[in-house]
Symmetry: C2
Subunit: 322 residues, 2 copies
């Protein structure tokens, strides 16, 4: 390890700062962190791996992006419940030969996003890794009792909406996998390298009682819509022509439909709302698009651009698997 474990913990503690921070009564430096939840709230907990070679590659992803994406995955899960994040916990295993600069830049990316969302890094674990950088992020948040927006709340007749655009992250990955270029310019693919979790949008939807069911598009639209249908015991009918496709690069045309349908790691929100609800065209500056509706039965169908209808199979992006 570039720094012994104890020194690494001290360094993280120094970066995080001390003193009581919001709802973190006790942060790094004890057997457990102690968190105080707002009165009348329930706790939300999510954990997500970020494993080198599975979720990122050091030769493709700058360390700041790896740190940012690591935390973004957890924040996006909190957003998908309509919750507010409180604290993050980082379990980090590092190979012995990793440069200290890489670790510092990784932490920098992670802590910048944490600061933006007023989330305190309140604990975790460090270890030596047998192979590559291994990170597991836990985010704890809160939501008023009984108000979490579950995957199971969709009903036939609901309209299906999505935030932002889809497929941008997968298009970047495809470019990397193709070998056409060894590296991508981070600024060309911001949604892949520095995805912005939709915490404010999720909270707005919960506060205004707009969404009945919600999930984040971490696995890809077809898979995540499948999750909603499975938990809600219903089907869906998706209109290909309505699916908002990301520009593959700024100023360029939209990505191929298959990226928008199956590409994961966009960290947008997919939600349903009763047909009688008026949903704003933008929320907190993020465009909201209606893309289909929830149906009876259990089938998820896609109305293609040529108006033909076919079964939509979950074919979510399997991270870096070939």
């Amino acid at each position: 390890l570039p720094l012994p474990e104890k020194a690494l913990i001290s360094e993280i503690r120094r970066l995080v700062g001390s003193g009581r921070l919001g709802r973190v009564v006790r942060g790094i430096g004890d057997d457990c962190a102690v968190l105080s939840l707002p009165p009348g709230h329930e706790a939300l907990v999510t954990t997500d791996f970020s494993l080198e070679g599975v979720h990122f590659r050091r030769e493709w992803h700058p360390p700041e992006a790896v740190g940012h994406r690591c935390l973004a995955r957890g924040l996006s899960d909190i957003a998908a419940m309509g919750g507010e994040p409180i604290a993050a916990f980082l379990s980090l295993a590092l190979p012995r030969q990793i440069p200290q600069a890489w670790v510092n830049r990784f932490l920098d990316g992670l802590l910048k996003l944490a600061s933006k969302h007023q989330v305190t890094l309140a604990g975790g674990d460090v270890a030596e890794s047998p192979a590559g950088v291994l990170a597991d992020i836990v985010v704890v948040g809160s939501v008023p009792r009984g108000k979490a927006i579950l995957r199971s709340g969709a009903r036939p007749g609901d309209r299906i909406y999505v935030t932002g655009q889809l497929g941008g992250s997968a298009a970047a990955l495809e470019e990397l996998f193709s070998g056409r270029r060894k590296k991508l310019r981070v600024s060309d693919y911001p949604r892949h390298f520095f995805p912005e979790p939709r915490v404010e949008v999720g909270r707005f939807l919960r506060e205004k009682n707009l969404a009945c069911a919600m999930v984040d598009t971490s696995d890809g639209l077809s898979t995540d819509l499948g999750h909603v249908c499975e938990e809600s015991e219903c089907g869906a009918r998706l209109e290909a022509r309505l699916v908002p496709r990301a520009a593959s690069r700024p100023g360029s045309a939209g990505v191929d439909l298959r990226f928008a349908l199956h590409g994961g790691e966009d960290y947008e929100l997919l939600f349903t709302a009763r047909a009688t609800r008026r949903i704003p065209a933008t929320i907190k500056g993020v465009p909201i698009t209606e893309i289909g509706r929830i149906t009876r039965g259990r089938e998820v169908t896609l109305v293609r651009l040529n108006q033909q209808t076919e079964k939509l199979r979950p074919a979510g992006w399997q991270h870096f698997r070939s």
Copy 2:
């Protein structure tokens, strides 16, 4: 992977069972778990890696023991705060060629301990591992507001106590590392293979207001006492003759003093109490032993068996490092 990720999650979900379990409002199957804390309580959160080759070896540790130890590490941290565990979260990355039977037995060991402590496995993550079995356990618990027993509560004059016996786990490791035997009989070294986290003792100490500072002996007495002294800004004087040494095997003599002083992973509780407090000789069937006292200044000293005094350096067991 022996099972695709989706199938593995379904299998875990089946093992855990469904329905509302205690304080888990929503478990596996949504973006986050939803937990309801008892009124007037704060949340406790702890995360711990269990990495193959670092914290265990598949050729030495039966899968049930790996699963048990994985969760025991987290439960022991909750115990060390005087808290009550509510839910566990397992992030599990598996190498492609691992036998399904190994995974089942691992989960069996983990879930048996969870059931014993009425802890629900409420979520986690699964992924393919680039190298070996990688597990990260999160345990969330609760404690009445302001009542968590911190490392920072020790004061000069406090007596230092420890539960159970120390060094048993390190003695088992030493035996394994020595190469004298390829495997150990699990029943000969229960404290190494199936450590019992002292949750009930920790809770008793908190309820009766007996302990001022507490830590679990996961890193070894010298290191963990160092943590208490550092956070409490005080020193300590430890009496070697008082340190309760584990029998290396049932019926055999106590382990070498260095294992009891520096060997980690015993998962006993180390706590301090005001000198005027009467501490029972056993709590919930576990012997409690006074081993020294907290002093002014910042030095941790050891009174050796020959009555000579020396500085006690933190030399906690560094897991499987040579």
